[in-house]
Assembly symmetry: C2
Homo-oligomer: 260 residues x 2
DNA sequence: GAGTGGTCTAGACCACGCT
DNA sequence: GCGTGGTCTAGACCACTCT
């Protein structure tokens, strides 16, 4: 990190400020500022739960007006990257704030309990992407990928079969971390270990009949109705990072969403 | 509309301005302003597609700063109530802008076509709310409701069975409008005819097996997997306005959603 | 060129959480 | 009391659309 050299006053302050924004770029300053904050978080300068400098301090550091910082922070809050607490400060979103785990996990128990399912990797493998995988993940046809099949259980009841695939180039040794993948918070792990922040996802849902493997893993009859969730998880840079197909027994659980 | 009386300068301007905000209320001004704009739209002062006064004009009219108007407009844009076009103006969202109909309709054909299904009211009835209905719609136990069953078809293929219920008090003669309900855009109709703007909804999804009526209406076998969507539609005032359970044949269609 | 929204500035005062 | 974020003000200049 550059030393603070704001004491030197005889040069244009922007020349020496530790963090500056490109003046000539056509992009709005709040957008440049927003992205700069994200880079500093993913680079590890601020970690989950850390308090950011106050809006005024950030404004001074970058040499912009407080209102510009506010707008940048507004968008980071909307993206779930930071949290504001009135009277306390602004914090890097921890991956364990209430709702962080459920941000991309929309299954909830019908009785309202907030339990998260544990996971168990059934199998995994690395290999060249199929044509369909390459298409969904925007990869070249011969790109290497890693595939996982994970079974998730509420208590002792297997409820969800997840089949997902990620580019090998982004997650080179993910296959060695089966213990990590037993617990919720895989996307947190992507962020911590590989610096990849998943900020949004597209999901396509349908009802399907359980096939043989589904039925065996979930303890159901073949043909039982399952909720299939086809998810493409995207990074803040709009890159498709993970493709996942989950099949869920919705006898005692449901998928929640808000339309706005 | 009251005459513009801003020419009179010897009294406090807020006394004579045509639209003012309660000064003592604890609510932020941008929120009061936002709600006032919504009321004027639903009251018919500005209709779908109309251009609103410029932000500066609104600021002058209400006696607030332009930045306050901007924040109110920001939220109305986020809510889909208005649209901004740089260099042209701000417009009341038409109900036929691309995506308005699909805002609360998340079913899409697998082949990517954007066709909307036509509807056909199978039956409707008015009567006292069941305990469950009263609970979901936050109504007193003896409140009157209207129930509809509507079948929706893509082309000639029946694909969705919708069962929904609304408070009679809000939609007193909705039952007389079966022709209207054959076409998409029911929520637009709620807005135009009853001044009720549906701004958001909560949906719970699950996979279920088709029952006898489902199977008959959709031309499927009993037990076929269907996607069930349980929706509570809310007005901007957070009032539950419609409860709807849709059962969808997802053989050639799927439910799309974005997680952010 | 006139009018619109988009961005940015540089302050003000208030509400909230902590100590 | 102090520092924080929440709201609000009153301007400035730029980019875009239309005539």
């Amino acid at each position: 990190m550059a030393e603070d050299s704001r004491a030197a006053v005889s040069v244009r302050p922007s020349e020496l400020r530790p963090w500056t924004l490109a003046a000539d770029s056509g992009r709005p300053r709040y957008a440049q500022l927003r992205d700069s904050i994200v880079r500093r978080i993913t680079a590890g300068e601020w970690r989950s739960g850390d308090m950011l400098p106050s809006e005024l301090a950030v404004a001074a550091e970058y040499g912009v007006a407080p209102g510009t910082v506010r707008k940048a922070f507004d968008q980071l809050v909307a993206n779930g990257v930071i949290l504001r607490q009135h009277g306390r400060g602004t914090f890097v979103a921890t991956f364990d704030w209430p709702g962080a785990l459920t941000r991309f996990f929309r299954m909830a128990a019908d009785d309202g309990s907030r339990e998260m399912p544990v996971g168990q990797v059934v199998r995994h493998e690395a290999g060249p992407a199929t044509r369909h995988e390459a298409e969904r993940l925007s990869l070249p046809n011969d790109a290497r990928v890693i595939r996982f099949v994970r079974l998730r259980m509420f208590g002792s009841v297997p409820t969800i079969v997840e089949r997902f695939v990620v580019p090998y180039a982004l997650f080179p040794d993910l296959g060695k971390h089966r213990p990590t993948m037993a617990r919720p918070g895989l996307y947190e792990y992507y962020g911590r270990k590989y610096g990849i922040l998943i900020t949004h996802a597209r999901e396509n849902l349908r009802a399907v009949a359980a096939d043989e493997e589904d039925a065996e893993l979930l303890g159901l009859d073949c043909g039982a109705p399952l909720l299939e969730i086809d998810r493409l998880a995207m990074s803040m840079q709009e890159r498709a990072v993970e493709w996942r197909i989950s099949r869920c027994n919705t006898a005692k659980h449901h998928y929640r969403t808000e339309l706005t």
